[in-house]
Amino acid sequence: MKYAYFPGCVSQGGAPELHTATKLICQKLGIEIQEISGWTCCGAGVMQEKNQLFSDTLNARTFAKAEQAGLPILTICSTCQGVMGQANLRMKRDPEYLAQINSYLAEEGLEYKGTAEPKHLLWILIEDYGLDNLLAQVTRPLSGLRVAPFYGCYIVRPTEALDIEEHPERQTSLETLIEKVGATLVDFAGKTRCCGFPILTINEKNSVAMVAKHTAEVKELGADAMVTPCPLCHLNLDGYQPKASKQLNRSINLPILHLPQLIGLALGFSHQEMGLQKHIIDTKPLQLKIGAGS
């Protein structure tokens, strides 16, 4: 199994532990990943406010590079996944638009033929790798660990850009993986809501209120941790949880895991290898519970 790896900006900046954990678990699982050379930002839904054409053109450039390498694209971020899916849909639906974009790419000798189908690691593990194969590699079942899912908006909506009709199992993919690695699922209605990250620097109070709402809710349901396939959610749910605690006027202390970290812990990696020490919210109680010493 080999993929064109699209790390996304956050795994290169504010959440380096995501990149490290991804590389380690892919190696262990035998999933070969080759970083797309010169990949650019997906636009994160922000650039479309200023210049959607630029955002779509950059994604077409990334898609064209993966096509050249003859590899399917692996993403590790709900936002990248969604934004790329939406850009792809616009181009596939409108051949004239694609032709216009290809005219810009021609100078670099690139052409996007419209065959790319970016796929999040979350889906790849289930659809391509297979749950049975994954289970066979689990050496430390996370039994007793109570884990809540948190998807990140763009990997659940809008459904037309995510092939949900063809893959309805994607809507419960995170719950499936939580249970597959032996943890106990803490289900809650907020799992598909917004973490607030996109408005963090625009309306911090509202953004932090969303963090407070979701983390406090699952904490009350007895969760030991929350897991997310979206590093933007992670930045907010983990990094701004101290502010959320202040807003609520009580402590929350809910460790937030990146998806590859949850898988990695079950594959036997130590908390150090998975970069849990880089989190803002202390993960020690969680480590003690599963015996993931360094």
Binding site: T40, G43, E49, L58, C153, C194, T201, G239
Partner: protein
Amino acid sequence: MDVKVNIRRYDPDAGAPASFWQEFSLAVPETATVLDALIQIREEMDGTLSLRCSCRSAICGSCAMRVNGHAVLACKTRASESLNSEGVVTVEPAGNMPVVKDLVVDFDTFWDKIRAVEPYLQPQGPEPEGEYIASNESMLHLSSVTACIMCGACVSDCTVLEVDPTFLGPAALAKAYRFTADPRDGDAAGVSQRRLEQLSLPSGMWDCTRCNECVQVCPKGVAPMDRIMALREQAISLGLGDNNGARHAEAFTESVAHSGRLDELRLPVKTVGMFNLPALFSFLPVGLRAMTHGKLPPLVHKSVENVQSVRRLFSKVSQPPK
């Protein structure tokens, strides 16, 4: 077909009003909608069940409510497609509005916000001699927004309204776009500067999180969030950039156009403004925590390889079409 309808009920006249769940088991035709099932419950099982409905054809917008956690028109939702593995469908009142009784919510705040965006044409230029001319193209463009039936599904599931009731919300902002994008509104060139200034204020267009809930639940394809994005584009192109939202979009694009990737360290600084000392100061605790945990974005932001091609792409796509 046997169905179980689990309804969140509320009666303000009860002794100690609190919402409670009540499950009804009934047989409905295979083709029944959730609304059909609810009406059958009201007529045959419990006459005290309150709900709003009228056309039963997804035209009037009366029966928006949450089915299995998401806002829908009950008349446009098949019961057979809404059952879980135990044959249960869950029905709740629409969210983000106070419940009057059972499935009936109070729309006062909804209408207040629609009124707040002054939902009528306001031409500011000189009056034409004949009628106002609008191109077919511009009217076709507006047809998706004018398809709104004011059902409140988008407002029900808006993630911002959940934490901040002052937000104008998806329905009112989409309605506002219906006028800012109308060539007959605003000045002679169809520019609605005053509207866009108003909409740029706090609780307006920049408070949307882009979560796509409204796009997903709208039963009419209005895609309110896409209209909010279009409002933002209009505001930026008019130079209404003196707010964090506009600065964020500008600085984000500038960063990617320059280096190919996002400079996470400088983006927040440019968003609040380089000289906004109180805001910059408020970043310090978060920045320090990130630094001590070894996750501060790199101080020196590197460009992607062959970044010249990215810069050239940006200048090409930014040229006005010939």
